[in-house]
Amino acid sequence: MAHNESAPKAGHDAHGAAVASGGGHAPAKDDPHAHAHPTWKQYKWVALILTLITVVEVWIYYTPFTQSKLFVPTLLIMSAVKFAIVVLFYMHLKYDARLFRALFTGPLIIAVVTLISLMFLFGHLAIRAGS
């Protein structure tokens, strides 16, 4: 099956890998199905934001904020944001078929719920009713 196309054919994958505008100069092929892929500019921003969040995470590690009750939730939220950014943009789940989102979030939810349940079962987490 000869498929050495000389130009990226937009119909190749009806939903998936549409053309990215590489150096920010070449226009995307005009295909009604081509979802906007992240551009170099966006990738740069993603990388910058990831770096920034990491810097903040490490920075607060060295401040007295670590004693606060909010430290762990804050860290978790920041990491969750990094996680989400990589998944949505680098793994382009944001732009891809919804099937992939389902295939990923299902197991992710089960994994997280299992982890949290184990935390409860082994006494690392507890809900205190009343006071």
Binding site: M1, G106, P107, V113, T114, L121
Partner: protein, 641 residues
Amino acid sequence: MATVAASPTYAGAQSGEHTGLWSWLTTVDHKRIGVLYLYTSLFFFLFGGLEAVVIRAQLARPNSTLVSAEMYNQLFTMHGTTMVFLAIMPLSAAFFNFLIPLQIGARDVAFPRLNAFSYWVYLFGGLFITLPIFFAVAPDGGWFGYAPLTTRQFSQGLNIDFWVLGLQILGISSLAAAFNFITTIINLRAPGMNLMRMPMFTWMSFVVQFLIVLAFPVITIALVFLQFDRFFGTNFYNIGAGGDPLLWQHLFWIFGHPEVYILILPAFGLVSEVLPTNSKKPLFGYPVMVYSGILIGFLGFGVWAHHMFSVGMGPIADTVFGLTTLLIAIPTGVKIFNWIFTMWGGSIRFTAAMKFAIGLVALFTIGGISGVSHASPPADLQQTDTYYIVAHFHYVLFGGSIMGIFAGIYHYFPKMFGRMMNERLGTWHFWLNFIAMNLTFFPMHFSGLLGMPRRIYTYDSGQGWDTFNMLSSIGAFMLVLSTSIFVWNFFRSKSNGPIAPDNPWDAATLEWSIPSPPPEYNFAEIPLVESRYPLWDLTHPERTSEIPHTQGGWTEHEKEADAKPVHIETERRTAKELGIPMPLPTIKPLFVAAGIIVMFSGLLFIHRDNKTMAFTLIGVGASMLVGFLYAWLLSPLEEAH
């Protein structure tokens, strides 16, 4: 009613290039791989059954000395391990392989070579974990291998090493197959076959693949921890180092509970094919059957600690898991009602398959009732680790999974082999099996509640257990007889049975629209599917008038598929004549599988302090694995076309 005209067995299967040992070693055809799974798993089923027979012979009388306590431990461990991992799961896999592509109108699975790989890993892994019993070093820590009992400190020998490594090997097989079938079911359905038109067997199998994907990694890690403890001196299950004795239990049962749904759902799917066909009515409540299957799968991840009610998790954990366990009975019970309503008002045809299917409905219900009684933690405190539990899971696994699988075998034998099984022998098999099964396992409810513990190699007389045990043992021997009838029937029919028509049961789904056995390419023309029961639309439209149908209106995408409206295919041309490219047979998956086994075997020698041998084997195995894997990935699946 079977059609009158019998058609000759497909000629292509007899041609030179498709026969002989090499053709089987290199096959990537899902139908052949399914048959390989069937033979191998039937063999292991018999082997595991023999282990059970020895157990029952030992327990027939109090204070028996037929086998030693140590051998008894190996027997019940291997019986459980064999039945779960080497018999029931692969029997289901036989049907996944053979049936799913046919039911969805596809030519093969998404990754045919990966499919072959899964089988070879299963075969080699099965041998790896089974051969030790011939040297009296079989695993002996129970099929659930609780640590710390199974740590090096309490189990010095090779036994548990074989278990830990063997299960990891088998896990690779199941996971690879799961990725394959998930992709196949999502991506290779014929045009028009949307998810709510898939046959119920395919639906239940779809749920099962996700259960495998989510559950097997957890037991892999539990096993890795045990393996590392045993081979490398880590501390995961080392109480002295602060390890928690419950870590293994939680990790194991997070896998173990979804595992039992992995064991039952395919059988449910098979029954959901057999019952409607032999009631001449569509399945009652198809959408509900789909949703309940999904719900069972999902909830199955939330009940695991009901296997641990006696360990002292505390009232909150006990209550939560007790509630979720009660909850999961609901979607399961719903299915029972749907099957009954399927038969209600139908024109029942009592084929052997139908008998087994109805048998499942009855016997699984009994198992389900005892199951509900376990859901209450206080009640379970009495029941756990007694024969009452043994009764429960044998009703659901034997009365459920095995009966469903037998139903599937009788029903699909004609399609697989082009011949009919003998109905009279099937009837004998069923009734003997039904009586024997109940005779074996029903008394266990009583001996269990009277306090007989599990996993004891003998017991004293005068505790009220003697008669029950004798009855169970008699039942077990009867099971040998009934199973022998089945085996005889199976092999005799394969070589001598009457030639099967293409649709002997006048069934409704796509697999019955092609010859028996199917040609290598399955469908000469990919069918365009318009409803849930495509063949009944052609032959018995009055049955399906209430079911949603497409009236034309194909999407652009579906039109690209070069498909034809559903039709009966009777001609038997070869793939070459039709211009259908077939995947090339290849030995590479087998060698990749072999490489993995060699690597794991090398690990065994670390235990024996023979590092040279260990590293040699690991090195050789790794080279085989990597070398053949690269060759596999860089070679074409099909010939140029």
